[in-house]
Symmetry: D2
Subunit: 477 residues, 4 copies
Amino acid sequence: MSIINGAENIWLDGKRVPNPAEHEAFKGTFQTISKLIQLIDHDEVGFDDVSVQRKVHKAFLIPKSLEDLRSQRQAYDTWAGHTFGMMSRLSDYAYSLITGYIIDREKFNAYDSTFSEKITAYFEEVKRERRLITTAISDPQIDRSKPITERPEHALLHVVEENGAGIYVSGAKMIATGAPYVDDILINTPYPHEEGQKKYANFFIISTRSPGLRIICRKSHAEKDKELYPIASQFDEMDAVVLFDRVFIPNERIFIRGNAAGVTAAHRHQQLNALAHYQTVVRLAKKLTFIAGVTTAIAKSIAADSFLHVQQKLGELYMQVDTINGLLKAAEVEGTVHSNGVYYPNAVPLQVARNLGTSYYRRAMSILKDIGAGGFTQLPSTAIDRFEEEKLQSLMTQYYAGATVSAMQKTKLFRLGWELIGSEIGSRHDLYERFYTGDPLRIQGLFFEQFDKTPYEERLQGFLQKIQNPIYEGVNI
Amino acid sequence: MSIINGAENIWLDGKRVPNPAEHEAFKGTFQTISKLIQLIDHDEVGFDDVSVQRKVHKAFLIPKSLEDLRSQRQAYDTWAGHTFGMMSRLSDYAYSLITGYIIDREKFNAYDSTFSEKITAYFEEVKRERRLITTAISDPQIDRSKPITERPEHALLHVVEENGAGIYVSGAKMIATGAPYVDDILINTPYPHEEGQKKYANFFIISTRSPGLRIICRKSHAEKDKELYPIASQFDEMDAVVLFDRVFIPNERIFIRGNAAGVTAAHRHQQLNALAHYQTVVRLAKKLTFIAGVTTAIAKSIAADSFLHVQQKLGELYMQVDTINGLLKAAEVEGTVHSNGVYYPNAVPLQVARNLGTSYYRRAMSILKDIGAGGFTQLPSTAIDRFEEEKLQSLMTQYYAGATVSAMQKTKLFRLGWELIGSEIGSRHDLYERFYTGDPLRIQGLFFEQFDKTPYEERLQGFLQKIQNPIYEGVNI
Amino acid sequence: MSIINGAENIWLDGKRVPNPAEHEAFKGTFQTISKLIQLIDHDEVGFDDVSVQRKVHKAFLIPKSLEDLRSQRQAYDTWAGHTFGMMSRLSDYAYSLITGYIIDREKFNAYDSTFSEKITAYFEEVKRERRLITTAISDPQIDRSKPITERPEHALLHVVEENGAGIYVSGAKMIATGAPYVDDILINTPYPHEEGQKKYANFFIISTRSPGLRIICRKSHAEKDKELYPIASQFDEMDAVVLFDRVFIPNERIFIRGNAAGVTAAHRHQQLNALAHYQTVVRLAKKLTFIAGVTTAIAKSIAADSFLHVQQKLGELYMQVDTINGLLKAAEVEGTVHSNGVYYPNAVPLQVARNLGTSYYRRAMSILKDIGAGGFTQLPSTAIDRFEEEKLQSLMTQYYAGATVSAMQKTKLFRLGWELIGSEIGSRHDLYERFYTGDPLRIQGLFFEQFDKTPYEERLQGFLQKIQNPIYEGVNI
Amino acid sequence: MSIINGAENIWLDGKRVPNPAEHEAFKGTFQTISKLIQLIDHDEVGFDDVSVQRKVHKAFLIPKSLEDLRSQRQAYDTWAGHTFGMMSRLSDYAYSLITGYIIDREKFNAYDSTFSEKITAYFEEVKRERRLITTAISDPQIDRSKPITERPEHALLHVVEENGAGIYVSGAKMIATGAPYVDDILINTPYPHEEGQKKYANFFIISTRSPGLRIICRKSHAEKDKELYPIASQFDEMDAVVLFDRVFIPNERIFIRGNAAGVTAAHRHQQLNALAHYQTVVRLAKKLTFIAGVTTAIAKSIAADSFLHVQQKLGELYMQVDTINGLLKAAEVEGTVHSNGVYYPNAVPLQVARNLGTSYYRRAMSILKDIGAGGFTQLPSTAIDRFEEEKLQSLMTQYYAGATVSAMQKTKLFRLGWELIGSEIGSRHDLYERFYTGDPLRIQGLFFEQFDKTPYEERLQGFLQKIQNPIYEGVNI
């Protein structure tokens, strides 16, 4: 039995799922997450929290030094390691956001004077109950050519009624990755709004068991057969659309209410996001390491790693990993202690890593395809030892053998490769890494705008001055 | 009931498939092919053959003029049109090869004096019985670093015994696309061999019902639900490995026996391949046209086609189609009548189209991913009208709507897009188009070697001469 | 002495050039163009014109059939062949535009009732006097973020005064390629304008000897030494900015006056542009053929053409040429006779070829760099036989030798390669091919908008219908 | 007058250069290097050396800690900063190699027992006299298809005679970047050789004033006009081929003599190379920073930085810089103290940075071209204020203006951009960054071979074990 609760009102294949933890589509992932939660009791992942008197995830640690940050990294590394980077929205991501809000809670009081009190209460609750959390920000993209402000009311999540105890909201949020497995979803609608449209501008956290909430799943990629689909059967975190039909949000879970500037600030807060991106990039590094390993093994199994152009491609995978690790390292050691005493990682290398990530995974998949090539197409439909004829098994053992490995091992490797490049869960990861940060072109536009271009300008000015004046005038020679 | 026979001894998921035409994994494709066969009785696809006194596929037409070639194209266009280019190895490909052998049958007698007589008999039989055919050439690639000649005996299909009536062969051939649906497989082993290794060098055609032959399928991508998986349910042509365990080949089906030069000539014959590549490229054009249409419709459904960078990508898809069509046009009008009176298409533009094809389809899939983006991830797991709650259907109708289309239509388009970019059949097509011609790098090396570089050298020589001498000396001015 | 006149008031390196035909920066190109003009008297390039009673360039032929088009191509091929495609704006381009205007002169009367009469008179004059012509359309791009309509008056060429005999204009036009060598420049300002801004909307042809006109050249790439810089010394066609300081345009050369719809129609006229693009693409094919030849020869000279990855890159260059040729072929044979009896080439393949061209040349240069690689950097500063020490010449002959060619030949080839990839004229060609059609992104957006997407939609509709209905219902079987 | 000596026997344009420091082609660079040398007396670049009793370059510092490494970096940063990264082979590169040999001098005694004594003597001499050094390793590539061992004798630098005082060598070395400006060249021939071919296997340092040595320059890109060509006029470091015609090498400068294993070890020594690569990558970062600044300023000058696709490209340039900086950071903080007490930077991130560098610079140039686009082609041939007509200057001031800058400033920026993307020195940098490490494909093959793949295999093994066993068995929960 699972030690986690998960959501209610989950819809899959046209039906409501009565008992998700026992349903074939969710079972494996429930088990995986349950075990991750148990790891909190181990020092790699958890630390002793004074206020709740138990071990809590290190994502809740407020880092005061480089050592604290690295301790936190150990926790992210451990969870990502146990899932091979293939689960992208485990709760440690949302936890790090909550921690960010806790750090700056006083500042956010400027937008809603109850912020500090409420976030503190929630923080304690989450730690105590080990609640699982995901996030959902985007509204339905019905017409991408229209700016947010020209969309009809129903296209944005909005307040339909309010009373002394809270508000009722209707609308939809896409995409809430991991929704079936969590207790709470952090909801925000951070768009610029006109005056008088306070009904859209709310930042709250909602229980996945709220009446009126429906979680609409994409097709489940989880498969019964763990041997044939080891990734899907254990690590399908599910993506879902969340529909709100007059859902009640109690006051204590509404952190910023009716304040457009506030909800946008809550979404774009750079230091806070640096903490969360740190987790994201640690996870990315683990995933790329795993892919590099699988691809190397496949190349080796058919002795393709003796070709120069294959070596070049494998080398490219290693360079992906080292580049992301280099950026992580830079983010860590170039971190700075802010006036609040918090040691934040440097945000820029993390943004660079995220931007590179949007193209790295796709490129890695392309390399895996190129190296396995026709080998994926000739893969038998099931494991060799399941064939119901001994003679046939022995023929297959002969003809499916690799250069350095047996037919059993070679087909197992290619099956894993196929799951990555050819299965539905594999394709979903390709899309996820490319688009989870948003439209890459727009994200890169934002990166450009926020980027501090001063050093570049200074160098250029230095150069232009040199044209007029002999160099090193200042140097007394 | 299917009007085609298909193979025996087909293995899927570890079991032998007793009645393929009724099996869920094969049924849809049996129906599709049956209908294509019936189209032979129509003038678009068939022509009246004098010798067998019935309509036969125009792939069997020996073209004597540009008009003949275009008549043949109409047949290829029609079959590819009915399958949207998503079936890559329909029998018209193998038919065009057989026609090529018929044209040059006298020449091949130089390698085996019985060639002409046997191929003629087979030609008549195929036309009369409308036998379906595929091809299988590659042997297992156990160790890609080893040249063919260093591989162990079992790694190449070889003769294990012979008698007056024929030969017995053992070994394996990968990949026989479409094998479960055909009557015959054209088998060749066109590698350079040392003297005394005649056992490898045979070109024959084998019935898929031969004792000792086993057809090992990859996983079936066919799905029961035609609405959710329209491509897989109708057009999964299947890829298979063919295992030979002392399989008997009667003399009359062995066209070249024990002659290495002969089997290589039979495989590399340029004019013959030009006829077959013509079919291949016509099919490619149809597929790219289909993809361009799907992608355009998806962009339009969410009004993404108003963005310049999306327009640029859609334009790239149209340019793919026009480029392939331009090369087809050049192959047609630059064809030449050989001394045997046959009008062959120009081989070079067809080779260029095939080379471009190895990267075009992958690029098209990448564009489709970029344009649909997160829309694919938020797609509900089944059709909206299958959801068992009326309220939910009405909410979904609202929130999944597109800019120009209803929620039902939009999700249908994205489901089709997802099948192309995200499903297992989609991934198989991505691999197929990239690798069916062989390792692209080596194919391109071969293209380089065979390419007539004379005109390039002449232009350069002309230039170099100009440096020394004033230009237009010849022009009396 | 040159048989062509060229412009007056040409400015180079801060000075006015008194006698361009004798100036080192222009001399070689004057000679080249003079010889091309003389070729008009030969049947490859010219045809006997009845009205002017002499041979005129075939660009002035109004094609009535595929044969006419091909005869025209022969002329384009000949000029482009003599200049190796390295002169992009020879007068045959502008001639083909004039021919297009002549064909549709009656239609253009709708915008200016004097059009037909004036263009006819000009047509005869150009043919009779063999006047040379280039075009200039773009105004200065001072602020790319501002739409045309928000720019200040001086940013667009405009009328400052008018009288009975004509108009006076001020402003600037960028870029008039070839301006120093021509007699006339075709000027247009085809932007949408508000009512009452007729002063911008004029389409006229101006003599390069008009008072008040100044031609500001970019740096000349022409070099004195024909052996070291064979391309720059013969084929630098020069790019120039044309400044208008109250320049008078006589009525007879103003074809459309003060009519925004008219000048835009004159610029965007599809059939007319198809005739001109036909010339452009023929020229592109010649250039790519030349580059493929140079690169092949360089690879061969150091025996790099035995490497698979080099073969792949050379093959890519051949595929560029064959693709452009295929599109030309399609444009020719898919041409159509319009109601006016003119046989126009199909515009779409020509647009595709132009779009591909914007990336092909840059890619070709990248391949040439990759293949020559360090060989370009170690090239001696001048020809080996110019070294003033015999001993040194003999050492160089030994150490600079190639695999298949002598040191003299190898260094000559690499010097030519360096001129293409490394010299200023080479870099200018890289920019030219990329941008001469305008901003590639916007041109591709325009291509998207104008493209007939109906066939794509039809195929998709066919597919979607199949999902509901069994296929081939219409086929009676 | 220059404070540096430079070489003798320099050949340019077919002539021997009598007094390089006063020659237009070399003067500017002599001045630049002279000033860099003077900076050694400043604390950013130099440190007080006990043995030679004067300040020496920090490249001669043997780093014992991260702080030492960073102090060294400050020196590299300063030199690269003063030359904007545009001089790639300043002597600090060779100095760091010498330092590496000093560190491991005892080990190299295994190949030549005199190594330690000789390198120490040379080390002191270089420091004392501030000798300038470059390196030359490659032999002429006459036939790239032939392995080294099949080349004729003259194709490799070899001993032609020896006596008690030293050896006489003949042959050629390509490419000795910076040769005209240095005192010494470090020469090695690190190929695997057969037994008995000791004549090739020598590692020595030769004075550029040795009789019989000839330095053959490529074309000089230095220009007289500092305003129009600020880079070429100050920073052309020159590439040269060095011809040896019976050149005498005295014993004290032959460090490894006739030992193939030894000369290969001296070339491939990983820690030693890590020290040198550290300098190289610091320089690369400076150059990319400069390019990013120029490109940003050009985009801003015409307000192109408001377009999303331009922002995306500028962002890509910033990401290049941050990626290289991240890898530098990782190399620094992941350095390790070896048994000899030396703190070496981690070699792998430096190799990754170098590999990325081979494509980054070319990509940066492509972005600069795309952003400046037609603006480069319409650039006037000289500075506006040099035009000999006041009226014209005023017209140009109007029409060449930018969105945010004056015409003078805009044309200055575009001229700088053009020098980078369009001039011969610019093209040389494009080639240099791509190829200075050797053939990128082979370098990447080497990277693959040397790369420690263990962590990848371990992760994969971990995954494969999970398929069989429930996860976290080891975790007692």
